[in-house]
Assembly symmetry: C2
Homo-oligomer: 207 residues x 2
DNA sequence: TAGACAAGTGGACAGCCTGTCCATATAGTG
DNA sequence: CACTATATGGACAGGCTGTCCACTTGTCTA
């Protein structure tokens, strides 16, 4: 995820360096959208009009570049969540935001997938750093929904996010554009408080 | 998926060719397990003790190789499903098999992911060929569960499979090994027939 | 069993990609 | 303006994919 908050304790980048960094970022955004997250980094450098060395100086690995591109998309998503929370009822805000999250996850499926698998397939913190703000927003919206009695108390925000991400991943290449939405609705049916009415969910369906 | 059913209309492989094919397959199985689906095909050939040309002759693309390895794992899974159907109650068979599917999807997540993304990121049939047997088994188990009154009528087998695959993908690198199971239970809560009790699921939670 | 030919093999090779290195160019500073 | 730390670009080493083809080996027929 590189430098989200710009520690600024270190001397700032030289202006030409910062300009090049932005160029690379812009080129990467466009190239990832156009050719997918597998696009050659040499190609990105070419499109940015910089040398490969410059690209690698700013983003030592492909994951760093993917992460940087993801980061501001996530910013937008979280701002939207805050707005929903401020303007609507708690249950609706949660459901609405999960829908936005679903769209985000579908659109950026490739990016995030590439990011994750480059970040290290193993031995890493379960969800990548860049998902921290997402988890924060999920925490907040779920807590509010639970307080309003609109969501089961035994559901965690991690569950919800994983469920949505999963739906996005699983349906990413489905031709049926509505399916993701239907799946989300199905899953949300299991989340709402009235769905549980005193039964001990989980394993009792085992066999 | 290459030649699952061996059309046999074409002359069979020469014995040495068949032997080499098996060797490559065995080496691939092991290498994929050990090093992940990104392992170099040259490495697979080396481990199989054949030349690269031989590997590519039998499996022209990485996806072909991944697909072949996946195919027999899927065979096993479907046989297990048939057994469950034959021995237990319909609702339990469905739930139990979905759990097996979840395990399968988690274990082979990398394989399937690699398979899908190599098969072609775009313009292809939504779910890859190799999933046809899985869908068939899901169809069957769901239909039986629905007839037994153990599953909602408005759920499709595609929904279920996607949900499970999604959970597997989303939790594949989670440190919490139980989470996938909990998510599945959560999702199944939305599937069971008593969860719906005369409400029109889906979008009414919108805002 | 021998000969002939189609089928199969292996490894060299072309082309592409990643990530490093360093001689050169340039912003920032006094 | 001069000086230095920073930044740049492109050549390069190393690795991977997928193709090609001269050579080897099953298989079939007589």
């Amino acid at each position: 995820m590189a430098s989200r908050g710009e520690p600024a304790t270190e001397r700032p980048l030289r202006v030409d360096a910062r300009r090049n960094r932005e160029r690379v970022l812009a080129a990467a955004r466009e190239a990832f959208d156009r050719f997918g997250p597998q696009v050659s980094l040499a190609e990105v450098a070419r499109r940015a009009g910089v040398g490969q060395g410059t690209l690698y100086r700013h983003f030592p690995t492909r994951a760093d570049l993917l992460g940087a591109v993801l980061a501001d998309r996530i910013d937008v998503l979280c701002r939207q969540g805050a707005e929903l929370a401020a303007t609507g009822p708690a249950g609706g805000a949660l459901a609405g935001w999960l829908r936005l999250l679903l769209v985000h996850a579908r659109v950026n499926q490739g990016l995030a997938g590439g990011y994750l698998s480059d970040t290290g397939l193993s031995e890493r913190y379960p969800v990548a750093d860049c998902h921290v703000p997402i988890m924060g927003m999920a925490d907040r919206l779920l807590a509010e929904a639970q307080q309003a009695g609109a969501a089961r108390m035994d559901v965690t925000s991690e569950d919800l996010v994983h469920l949505v991400v999963g739906i996005a991943l699983a349906t990413a290449r489905s031709a049926d554009v509505d399916q993701a939405d239907r799946l989300l609705a199905l899953a949300l049916d299991g989340v709402r408080v009235d769905a549980v009415a005193g039964r001990s969910r989980s394993t009792e369906a085992r066999s």
